[in-house]
Symmetry: C3
């Protein structure tokens, strides 16, 4: 089970309750059987629920001692005997909901710590928890039920919606943020973009925009979102951004995107909805990346990407082309070596 | 206009005043006409000034409703009728100066916040603003008119010149810094370099140098500059470094360089003056990169680069060679596919 | 000598003492001669000790004015006349020990600063120094002789072993940490991994594991280590991680690894012991990287790596193959150009 120093468990739940929570159908097992925890396939025991989402773990599934498993129909008949099966075509989503039921997010302890500093003109909604060392500037408006972690800095005038969780050691300036966002430790939002008019002495171009973030946006540890140069930098509802990502000024990101760690978007690039980006992707500025595009890890975007297109490589190209070139190169190198050996 | 929660506007200015500020010539328009703000081409209205710097926005220029525009002579005759034109061969620099005039940098509120901690032996120049939660160590010397943001840590003995702006949540140790520098939130300066004598147990090599930074240097959010191992790590006057950049120990960077986000320089590499580096560039250690070199985004530097040379790719090579190889590979892959289709 | 604002020197030492400290043999020089500092080859003077470890500096060695030098036997006979020689086959390790003798790590000033906040239930071992603005949560257990830097946040329940040095502006949550670890400024440990069940609304998957770190682990500035999703994220004893590295959830890293800056490991990848990784490496998730593997800078790991194997490139391949392909491509491009010129 999860370390009780850090996590408080709820439950137990019956198989029937779990099926409801997961949005799954009971394929096998006693609806009244009781399960008291979640666990990974290799570690789960009789009283625990696991899940299979990635076929790389099919072997672990076939030999798991888990009492119950959330699984898609195509794997169900490979289950070991006696395992209760909760079948759904979205086993990972089902597991997410079950795990949330066992380990609900901890509530806040409303109040402002004596060692926090809230400027006179700042407004805090009901139920907020402001930890020691947090500093909230003049005119900032924090919604209800927000957590402001210790040693975080919320600049003057910043607006944060209800239910946001701002971790420790975060900086937010020049930003207007929606509801239910989660910012992990060390996030930097709203600093000046990298705008200089180059010359013998590079001239600072005032950065006059903001960062505007929708609802339900998560931003990973030590990620940086620069404010706009004139237009705003925008991240729309439901987008999730991993650690150490860099978002340049004027970038616009649609809804429901998923960006893996250490990616970087240069200024003024526009990203559609539900775009997936692997880790360490880089993008030139002023591009348009269409809805539903998929960008492989370490790609370098130098041109627009069509909606739904998958691109790979640096410079990025359509996946088919990339793999064809890679194969051609491998073939050429082998041919050369063989020829070298022949002569 | 810029959000008044965050920005205070100055002005208005006449076209004549704007021409003087921008260093531009009035090509058309009434010298006494009054303009009260800057705005991007697509959003600007009659009373506002815009600029055209990037030909990708030439269409937006031709259809802009801006009352005035700062533009180079080669685009001037494409202006829509009635637009006042301020012509200069450095429109971006001109815009920077005009935007600075409309939105001058906010002044400081001198004083040390009650929740800041300044060690007894530290020296603060006149006019400094030290925010809540800032911690300044023994023997630190901060010049006049500096801003030390909230929850930043200035270590013992650190020297900072006049007019520096150190954002919130920054750490500076073992460093001597010039005048008029700007460090964005989360910058880390002066920590140990990655120096280990490898073995069964890797031995820490004491890092006995400093970070020495010139005047007018900007460092982006969450960037890291390690101190020297024996020599110093040096960044000279006027260099601008973007977010999440990594500078290893003993690196020397000349004047006027521009490094885009997420680049990383391994230890002891020497960079000349006015070097431009795209995002996510990596460099091996102990290299020499000549004055005025240009390194494309995502390049991997494994050898010295000549002054003025442009290199691309990983491993980086002269631009011409890189593009030739890329073309050859594309040709080969297409030929193979065609041949496959033929047989 | 090292700047006395930041470093306090010990010594002097005789050549004989230095030989003992370095684990080296006196090849030449007076055993009773006294040396009072270390310095790089190009800067060292008569009373100072230097070292030669990298053949790129052999010229500097041949012309150095250093009074003594730690060097391997193969370079010893190139020494300038009059230089005392301390010969060892591990000159960098020898230098590390000598430099540690001249500049021993500063001691702590035990106590909790009045502007630090330690929760009632937290336990601090003897001899700890807790700086201004540090915040230590309920139930945290900090061992003896630890340093907690200013404005750092240690979350509830976190366990830290004896002798750890946690720099300023660090965040640690959901973690159990061994002895003698060094965490540089801005490190983020234990935040949620990037776990979402994708859908129209991406569902947060509770991250129920911890970060478990062995003894003698160093973590660089602004690096991020996410906690496990169910299993723990694990880093074993003696591993050294550079700045701005990203470690995803459930990753397991063996002992004695060295990871250069800005590398990123996706979730659930397992790394053996003594693996070396260059800068800006990326790894897919769920891989196995064998003991002693070497991963070149900027590589992209998409498959398992055998123990002892060296891989290069994106996608990463065995070094020999990578270089062969690169050569073939160069050859092809030159041939095409020549042919073009001929016709």
């Amino acid at each position: 089970m999860a370390d009780p120093r850090f996590f408080r468990r709820s439950g137990p739940f019956t198989l029937k309750e779990l099926a409801e929570i997961a949005g799954a159908e009971i394929r096998s097992g006693d609806a009244d059987a009781v399960f008291d925890d979640v666990a990974p396939l290799h570690a789960a025991t009789q009283g625990q629920v696991s899940f299979l989402d990635n076929k790389a773990y099919a072997d672990a599934f076939r030999t798991s001692a888990a009492g119950a498993c959330i699984v898609s129909s195509r794997f169900a008949d490979q289950a070991p005997g006696g395992m209760a099966l909760l079948v759904t075509e979205d086993p990972y989503g089902g597991y997410a909901r079950v795990a949330q039921a066992y380990y609900p997010q901890g509530g806040l302890t409303p109040g402002v710590h004596a060692a926090a500093v809230v400027a006179d003109g700042a407004v805090l909604g009901a139920g907020c928890q402001v930890d020691a060392g947090a500093v909230i500037g003049e005119g900032a408006e924090i919604g209800a039920d927000c957590w402001i972690g210790s040693n975080s800095t919320i600049g003057p005038g910043v607006v944060i919606g209800d239910g946001c969780r701002i971790g420790p050691n975060v900086t937010i300036q020049f930003a207007v943020i929606g509801k239910d966002c989660v910012f992990h430790p060390g996030v930097r939002i709203g600093q000046d973009g990298f705008g200089f008019a180059p010359g013998a002495r590079h001239l600072k171009v005032p950065q006059l925009g903001r960062v505007v973030i929708g609802d339900d946006v998560d931003i990973g540890a030590n990620a940086c979102i620069d404010r706009g140069a004139g237009p705003d930098t925008v991240i729309r509802t439901g987008t999730k951004i991993d650690n150490l990502v860099q978002i340049g000024h004027n970038v616009e990101i649609g809804s429901g995107c998923l960006f893996a760690a250490q990616s970087g978007l240069s200024g003024s690039t526009k990203i559609g909805n539900y775009v997936m980006m692997g880790g360490q992707v880089g993008s030139a500025g002023h591009l348009n990346i269409g809805d539903g595009a998929r960008i492989a890890a370490q790609s370098g975007l130098m041109r627009d990407v069509e909606p739904g297109q998958t691109v790979v490589g640096s410079p990025a190209q359509p996946a088919k082309e990339y793999w064809r070139q890679l194969a051609a190169l491998g073939h050429l190198a082998r041919a050369k070596t063989k020829k070298g050996a022949d002569t």
